[in-house]
């Protein structure tokens, strides 16, 4: 149990690397930086593998309980000031541990965060080799790994929130890595500020949970939620879960808070791959999946999650259809795929959602790293209109990216097919027309996904070369440190889906069975709710073998094929000044999509107030101006009035002091004395002999007086 007992080392190792970079990074060689930072992540990956392996044996002997390792009580005490009464009047303690929890759900996140993280660290050695701030980059990456692993391994919401904020901070730091570029620092601010909105929701949701369930530890909360004391549709739980989902929307870039993610592509490409595709943005999915027991008590929240997820999926995918920046296409693709994950969670297919997170982390990381390799070989060019015909010049990049594209488009037997098909199937089998609409949205999104991904492939790797001669001359395949992670990720993108080979195709869905301890009790709840499809293990078999599933599978593959075919026909021979098919059909639609539905502009008007409507400024800046006016006129006015009154009092006081106290009281007697002194002075004119004469006269006078008296 070596690894399991020391599970806290998994996040602490990258923290150590980050601390080393913070204190000594500037002074050491690049080779040392790489050795330390990549070394600690490799160690963390090995420890994670060991811990998960040990957990599986441990769990078999312990009724598949989650494994908890509590180091110490971090917030609150048994008898401290944080005791309070829960809503039903029982005593509760606001307490958070520095504790770690390993169960199948966190195992999956742990494995792909450390695994993909390790590959991206290795890739960064090559990609960032020529950049300044090498140690800074790796320090931030390690800090991110620490925060993400804390988020994943925490055993309570508060510690999860620490990791949650930590990854937000690292995201900010890394988006703004090229901080000398205005657009990068703006994008970093945008990401941070938009995430704040979500985080506020998360915090409020946490307060509701603490107040309602009397604890923030997952095990306690989930036990309470499953105890049956709470009604399905309880308004407090609905509020709490909706607020948590607001947090998830911020972190996982869902409508309406998705706007930061496309801009986050200002960061270095490995960062986009690690943070803004594979790991951090799935934190929202993790949080919702972790809170599944709560969400199942709130059908409204579940529906909200599903609807927001589906809308985000198709919304982002439609924007992705026309974007020209290779990283932005992938960014919108990420938002869209995250929408899929939330759609899955929302329809109660938690395992399918988590599975899509898992497969997505591989192929999306691969796509970003491939895009990074393309950009690297194109001397920094990111616009696909200036690429083309790269397939035989950078074959490794091309082949690995093609694997990832096949995976994300949902072509069997690549990974994306299994996870995406599972989600669509689960959406279809929920009863109700609404779910069929959601299925259709998901299905249309799948078609768009195939189209824009193959558009990316054809524009980048086929057609006529559209770059300048100088750039063309410099095209080179990436170094080994970049190629090896690409190849490993390509293998994963191909095979990760096989972990959940559906029973209908003769598989055993091992991945979902692994997650059963986390989600299985929810299937019971869904059954009791009466609206759900029969998801229990026995029923699942029967459902999966129904002919409609094969039909749906065929339809998804057909959609992917159609998307591929359309992209091929439109872009196969793209030359300079090629026409976009959507532009040819309907220029207004094309412009709307190209400008991202003008959402950023709308936000600028409505929320940030960077633009005025007439003389009126709305939003935050309008609020700022109103506050500024209030401060300048009301608050400062009050201050100035107080000052004016003080000055007036002081003036009166000074007049009183000068004329009454000093004048009458002090100088008055002095003046009187002086005036009286004038006659007295007349007797004294300074002649000694005169004085002597007066004395003598006095003496003579006295003598006469006494003699003759």
């Amino acid at each position: 149990m070596l690894f399991l007992d020391h599970i806290y080392l998994i996040p602490l190792l990258p923290a150590f690397g980050a601390a080393m970079m913070f204190f000594f990074g500037r002074r050491v060689q690049k080779a040392t930086v790489s050795a330390v930072c990549v070394g600690v992540v490799v160690l963390a990956f090995i420890m994670a593998c060991g811990a998960v392996l040990q957990y599986t044996t441990w769990a078999d002997a312990n009724h598949h309980q989650p494994y908890q390792k509590i180091l110490y009580t971090w917030l609150g005490t048994e008898t401290g000031h944080f005791n309070f009464l829960t809503k039903d009047g029982s005593q509760a303690v606001f307490q958070a541990d520095a504790g770690f929890l390993l169960d199948p759900l966190s195992s999956i996140w742990l494995l792909f965060v450390t695994g993909v993280g390790m590959l991206i660290h290795i890739y960064s050695i090559g990609y960032m080799g020529h950049e300044g701030g090498y140690y800074r980059f790796f320090g931030y990456l390690n800090l991110f790994m620490f925060a993400m692993l804390t988020l994943v391994l925490a055993n309570n919401y508060v510690l999860m929130f620490v990791g949650w904020e930590g990854v937000g901070l690292c995201s900010y730091l890394l988006i703004g890595f090229y901080f000398h570029r205005k657009s990068a620092s703006d994008a970093a601010n945008k990401a941070f500020i938009v995430n704040r909105i979500g985080d506020a929701g998360f915090i409020l949701g946490m307060f509701f949970i603490a107040w309602y369930f009397g604890s923030l530890r997952y095990t306690n909360v989930i036990a309470a939620a499953r105890s049956g004391h709470f009604q399905i549709g309880d308004p407090i739980i609905t509020a709490a879960t909706l607020l948590l989902f607001v947090g998830a929307c911020g972190k996982s870039a869902q409508l309406p808070l998705y706007v930061w993610l496309p801009d986050a592509m200002e960061g270095p490409t490995p960062v986009s791959a690690l943070i803004h595709a594979a790991t951090m943005v799935t934190a929202g999915v993790y949080m919702v999946a972790r809170s599944n027991a709560l969400f199942l008590l709130a059908p409204t929240s579940m529906k909200t999650v599903a609807i927001v997820g589906a809308l985000t999926a198709i919304f982002a995918a439609s924007i992705g259809l026309v974007q020209n920046d290779i990283k932005r296409v992938l960014a919108y693709s990420t938002v869209s795929q995250l929408g899929y994950m939330f759609l899955a969670l929302g329809v109660g297919a938690f395992a399918a959602g988590v599975f899509h997170v898992f497969t997505h982390s591989f192929f999306k990381a691969l796509l970003f790293l491939g895009a990074g390799a393309v950009i690297h070989s194109m001397s920094g060019e990111q616009d696909m209109r200036n690429m083309g015909d790269l397939a035989h010049r950078i074959p490794i990049t091309y082949r690995t990216m093609l694997v990832a594209t096949l995976a994300i488009a949902g072509i069997p037997p690549f990974a994306g097919f299994f996870s995406k098909d599972e989600i669509l199937w689960q959406a279809w089998t929920r009863e109700g027309t609404a779910y069929h609409i959601l299925w259709f949205i998901g299905y249309a999104t799948a078609l768009m996904t195939a189209f824009y991904m193959f558009r990316l492939i054809y524009l980048t790797f086929f057609g006529k070369p559209r770059m300048s001669h100088e750039v063309e001359h410099h095209i080179h395949e990436c170094p080994h440190s970049m190629a090896v992670p690409l190849l490993i990720l390509a293998v994963c993108s191909l095979s990760a889906g096989w972990l959940s080979w559906p029973p209908s195709l003769g598989g055993s869905a091992r991945f979902e069975k692994f997650l059963d301890p986390v989600f299985a009790p929810e299937a019971q709840v869904l059954q009791e709710e009466g609206k759900a499809a029969q998801l229990a293990a026995g029923e699942r078999e029967a459902e999966h073998t129904s002919p409609s599933e094969y039909l749906l599978m065929f339809l998804s593959v057909a959609a992917a094929g159609v998307g591929w075919f359309m992209a091929r026909r439109s872009y196969e021979n793209a030359d300079k000044g090629f026409t976009e098919p959507i532009q040819a059909i309907s220029p207004p639609v094309y412009n709307t999509l190209l400008n991202k539905y003008y959402v950023d502009e709308a936000y600028d008007y409505a929320f940030t107030g960077r633009r005025k409507i007439g003389d009126v400024r709305l939003g935050v800046m309008g609020l700022g101006e109103a506050s500024s006016w209030f401060d300048a006129n009301v608050v400062d006015g009050a201050v100035n009035a107080a000052g004016w009154i003080t000055r007036l009092t002081a003036t009166i006081s000074k007049w009183w002091d000068t004329w009454i106290i000093d004048g009458v009281g002090v100088n008055g007697p002095a003046i009187l004395a002086r005036m009286l002194s004038y006659p007295a002075r007349l007797f004294e004119w300074g002649l000694v002999q005169w004085y002597a004469l007066v004395m003598t006269a006095g003496l003579v006078g006295f003598v006469f007086y006494y003699v003759y008296h």
Binding site: S677, R681, E684, G686, L687, Q689, A692, L693, T696
Partner: protein, 116 residues
């Protein structure tokens, strides 16, 4: 003739009074500070004369009233006054010299600073 030649205490006192009067007139009327100082010496010496004369007069009185050969207080006191007069002359002349250095005069009317 005998009676005429006998010089009684009263003679001394009259002479002392005359000298005193002369001294006072000198102090009050003369403008030269040196003369004024000299006039003060006159006054002091007029007092000395009185002291000595009355001391001699006391020596002729009976001892039971404090007189007799031993009644020398007045004469001793006169010696003190002479000493005092010398000291006073020294200080007075010192002031006079300091004054002369400043004003280049020894005229008392011009010493009129002693006022408000």
């Amino acid at each position: 003739m005998d009676a005429m030649l006998h010089i009684s205490t009263l003679h001394y006192l009259v002479l002392g009074a005359a000298l005193f009067l002369l001294g006072v007139i000198g102090v009050l009327t003369r403008r030269n500070v040196v003369i004024v100082l000299m006039s003060i010496e006159l006054i002091l010496n007029a007092v000395n004369l009185n002291l000595v004369a009355l001391s001699r007069y006391w020596q002729g009185m009976p001892a039971r009233l404090g007189g007799g050969a031993q009644a020398l207080h007045g004469q001793v006191f006169a010696i003190f006054v002479i000493t005092d007069a010398a000291a006073e002359a020294a200080v007075g002349l010192g002031i006079l010299i300091a004054f002369f250095r400043n004003k280049e005069t020894v005229n008392v009317d011009e010493v009129n600073l002693l006022k408000w």
